[in-house]
Amino acid sequence: MKEQRIKNQIRRLRFEANEMTQAELAEKASVTRQTIIALEAQKYSPSLELAFRIAKVFDVPLEKAFQYN
């Protein structure tokens, strides 16, 4: 399987945000829970817009939530 080059810290950020559930994050970022599951499993690279939306939910800069390897 092709390895995703964009890594993310979503799971950790959720934990730090009072253990926010995947469903809550999905709702705030306007995506489905399955997309959050795929992102956390590092099996899906989000669009730039979604990456910004997720970073905004956690109130962190983009590079704290997503890294390019």
């Binding site: 489905t32 399955q34 099996k43 989000p46």
Partner: protein, 152 residues
Amino acid sequence: MQFLNDYSNRELNIWAELVLDIIVSLYFISRVYPLLINDQFNSEALLPIIFTNIIISIIYSIIVFGAIDIFTKKEKKDERDYFYELKSYRISYYLSQGGILCIIFLIAYNAVYQENIGLLTLPKIAMIFFIIAVISSTGKSLTQLFNYRKSI
């Protein structure tokens, strides 16, 4: 019920679509094949089969898609859904293009070697188009399901 929990509303809809494709194609081919063998394949014989197929599809859609919408939470499409949909349309496009090329080849082959495989009549061409449509739709559903499962 565990099955419903393991799959999202969208995945269940794709599964249902896939099963519908299989049911419709199996019914169609099982009814049309004897006509083909007995050389009774014509538009008059084909019409009731197509009509029954449409009725089966409508009844199946009302029951199965209705049940999925009742028992699972409907979710709005997001970018991942559109991305996988595009990927599956690409596969579907290649399959239909391949099928159309096969038809062109068959027509050309028939024009040259008529005595070998006989003339391709309009109902026969229609049936080939139907099979191509089913294959292309099945390919689309399978690609979507594969992508959804792969990313979970």
